[in-house]
Symmetry: C2
Subunit: 227 residues, 2 copies
């Protein structure tokens, strides 16, 4: 089994505060798992009892709305941790995690992580900072949802996907979302999302080939996003 000392997650996440001994200890108790595209990592309401380290791949965090639709709250990818909030609050997870592509994740049991909390101050500080960052993002998102049009939010989302996940050799967005998922991320109906993509296409801002989306005019897209 691979060792935590060289793992990519260690470099980018709160785990970077752990010292050699702690990492060795971690290697001993973690379990590794391959998750196929579309598979569920955990479901809203479940007791997870630990955190997941994403070694590779991207997943969506979704929440079921009262009307039965799934809403994508956030995308989480390689190098990040999952399930921290739930572990700290000592509550079931309030979001579901579903793989958007094939993934490789490790699971660390809660008991182990809580030990680091007690003994390693920098580690708990890192976790707190991550959660604070999420909260700040959530505040920005709330305002955007309230005050910006679907068109603006879609443009912004496309740019964000471009900046965060990059592009393939053919310049299309690397991260592959269905129209349905993109709509859910933007916070709109699927048809509205498709229609606006179509508009952007006609305006020459993006190019659509199958479900591939290629941004062809970042500047104009930015102008729409920022209004």
């Amino acid at each position: 089994m691979s060792k935590c000392e060289q793992c990519i997650v260690r470099e980018f996440s709160s785990l970077k505060a752990l010292n050699k001994d702690e990492l060795v200890k971690l290697s001993g108790c973690k379990t590794s798992r391959i998750i196929k595209k579309g598979e569920v990592i955990f479901e809203e309401g479940e007791n997870v009892n630990g955190i997941f380290c994403i070694k590779d791949g991207v997943c969506k965090l979704t929440k079921l709305s009262p009307n039965g639709k799934d809403h994508i709250v956030k995308l989480v990818s390689k190098g990040e941790l999952l399930g921290q909030r739930s572990m700290i609050s000592d509550e079931p997870v309030n979001l579901s995690a579903v793989a958007l592509e094939d993934m490789e994740v490790c699971f660390i049991p809660k008991t182990e992580v809580m030990g680091f909390f007690d003994k390693n101050n920098q580690f708990s500080m890192n976790v707190m900072k991550t959660i604070c960052g999420d909260l700040k993002e959530a505040d920005v998102h709330a305002v955007n949802m309230a005050q910006r049009t679907v068109k603006e939010r879609l443009a912004e989302t496309l740019l964000h996907l471009h900046n965060t996940y990059g592009k393939n050799e053919d310049d299309s967005l690397k991260i592959q979302l269905s129209r349905d998922e993109l709509a859910s991320l933007v916070g709109t109906a699927t048809e509205s999302c498709i229609r606006l993509l179509s508009d952007f296409n006609k305006l020459g801002l993006i190019k659509l080939v199958g479900k591939k989306i290629t941004i062809t005019d970042i500047c104009k897209l930015k102008k729409i996003a920022e209004n």
Copy 2:
């Protein structure tokens, strides 16, 4: 100057983890302040360098949207702390705080609080749990904004105000918000908010006298909120 040992904030906030000695130390370094309705406690982008304890009163946390409108992200009241996220992230505050009624707050400098973080594990755990709770709330809010109508959100907000802040002797909501503020909290235009209040009034769900709002039919209001 009043002592922290008997303060109400201590009972309800993360500070409940502090022991006698720590509280005495706190009493020595805090500064107390009276804030009049409408006054600003801090403004988005400011460096606050500490946390505020709300001994009395309620304030709104607002965020300026790109189009220049203020959006109310959250109400915070007696017994709660302000500025924790900013202190942990070591960043300027990302929200403004404005008093909705006369307030009494204490300020504790960052250096002092950070000391507790290092030495008192239960305290830092409490702070984390609070922030995690905020994040969970934010997730729920995001979904609501995306998937529920203004009418549903207004009904829900009225019920929430009723449950959280109670009512006066005449049964009207204790917390006094302008239509503008209520709209901003619900995430809609002022006129839309006024119009829907008017509708609720005609349907006999609420009663409007001046800017006072009285809920007269909780059940029906709940039905609208939950739909």
